[in-house]
């Protein structure tokens, strides 16, 4: 394959992961373990970085080992590879940022059972070369992260009047009644539903136009 072909292919992978086949509003995978940390932007950023790291590297590793993995135990092998990277993230967080590790609680460990990681390894990594598997994992994780960040920004701003812990002028003042519900669990469900609705409607409108 020549260079421009490879470029076009990676661009395609990027668009698929970020938009057309976005993990959250199109595939609806892996929302479980990360939705819980979207009440604060900082937690979300750390969680997303951890997810990008785990997803892209484990997709690449699964892809490198794909010729040596026996077909019938591949799920177990994939899980172990993912768990390996998650343990690295967990140990690093515990060593250098213990408060954050406490804030995230079990949710770092839960990346292992995050369906999007397993889903991408199974759907793409296991049957494609390492570089494109890495890119696929990377862009899917980014597509996942940007939606979560939107949710987190709204939840923290409306619920606490702050962003990244800094108070925002109007929203932290006395004129703004804080929407406590936004930082509580129902807020996360509602925000995710609204974001899914908006993005899906945009996609549907585009599809209609192209027909």
């Amino acid at each position: 394959m020549n260079a421009s072909g490879a470029g076009a292919q990676s661009k395609n992978i990027a668009i698929e992961g970020l938009w057309r086949n976005n993990p959250i509003f199109k595939q609806v995978l892996g929302i479980c373990s990360t939705l819980a940390v979207t009440n604060l932007v900082l937690n979300t950023v750390v969680m997303c970085v951890a997810l990008v790291f785990t997803l892209s590297l484990s997709a690449a590793t699964v892809s490198i080992l794909r010729r040596f993995t026996p077909r019938n135990i591949r799920m177990m092998v994939e899980t172990l590879i993912i768990a390996f990277y998650v343990i690295i993230v967990d140990i690093i967080l515990k060593a250098y940022w213990p408060e954050m590790s406490g804030n995230l609680g079990p949710y770092v460990g839960l990346i292992i059972t995050n369906c999007i990681v397993m889903g991408r390894c199974e759907a793409y990594g296991i049957s494609n070369p390492p570089v494109s598997a890495f890119l696929d994992g990377f862009f899917n994780a980014l597509g996942y992260s940007f939606v979560l960040l939107i949710i987190a920004i709204f939840r923290e701003l409306l619920g606490m009047g702050t962003l990244l812990g800094f108070s925002v002028p109007y929203f932290s003042g006395p004129y703004w009644d804080k929407w406590i519900i936004m930082v509580m669990p129902p807020g996360a469900f509602f925000m995710l539903a609204i974001v899914t609705w908006i993005f899906r409607s945009i996609q549907l409108a585009k599809e209609k136009k192209s027909k």
């Binding site: 509003f25 609806v28 995978l29 892996g30 929302i31 479980c32 373990s33 939705l35 819980a36 177990m76 899980t79 172990l80 768990a83 390996f84 998650v86 343990i87 967990d90 140990i91 609680g105 079990p106 460990g109 839960l110 292992i112 059972t113 995050n114 369906c115 397993m118 519900i181 509580m184 669990p185 129902p186 807020g187 996360a188 469900f189 509602f190 995710l192 539903a193 899914t196 609705w197 908006i198 899906r200 409607s201 549907l204």
Partner: protein, 200 residues
């Protein structure tokens, strides 16, 4: 060690895991099968029962594994892998037993068992149990309560979604969108239970 207060604590933890700290509605665990399998009550019921059973048993097994294997060896960081292996092995084992001895039950629950291995609620319950350092007896209550909580939530959701089947929903909101909104409303309702139990 005095057992009576522990049994009382297990009971309290169990009730709070069902209502005030529902593993699905306040910790978002097990959302993927919750959205995927809640289209009809029958399959939701089967999956829910399987979750109660597997969650209670794996919590106990993981408690034993963590406190008698990992802690003495100082290998606590290894728990993610060990828990996953315990869960996967247990589910596989149960599947074989059910298939051998009760084909009728296998027909009802069999398809759901593999799904459970990747259900984050199961692993999540085990991790919470470690983080909150529950004792063995309390863990029984916690595993059972979390399972029942998940079961209740998915049954309620399936019931609501069956009613929704004939309603007109905006196209972009169909499927996961409307399910999430209903889940939000349910979470809101469950917040009403806060304060039922003073002190967890």
């Amino acid at each position: 060690m005095n057992v009576a207060p522990q049994i009382w604590q297990a009971f309290v933890v169990c009730i709070s895991a069902v209502f005030t700290q529902n593993i699905l509605l306040s910790y978002f665990l097990g959302l993927c099968p919750f959205i995927g399998v809640s289209r009809e009550i029958k399959s939701a019921f089967g999956l829910g029962l399987a979750v109660i059973f597997v969650m209670t048993s794996t919590c106990l097994l993981n408690w034993l594994a963590y406190h008698y294997v990992l802690e003495p060896l100082g290998l606590e960081f290894f728990r993610f892998i060990l828990f996953i292996i315990v869960i996967a092995a247990f589910v596989q084992f149960v599947e074989m037993v059910i298939e051998r001895y009760s084909p009728a039950l296998y027909l009802r629950l069999g398809v759901f068992l593999p799904l459970i291995t990747v259900n984050c609620a199961i692993l999540g319950a085990s991790l919470f149990m470690v983080i909150r350092s529950y004792s063995f007896i309390v863990t029984i209550g916690y595993g059972l309560g979390s399972g029942i909580g998940w079961f209740l939530a998915i049954i309620a959701m399936a019931g609501i979604r069956q009613k929704l089947a004939n309603e007109r929903i905006p196209q972009g909101l169909q499927g996961p969108g409307i399910t999430l909104i209903i889940a939000g409303l349910m979470a809101l309702a469950f917040i009403g239970f806060t304060g039922v139990l003073q002190g967890r």
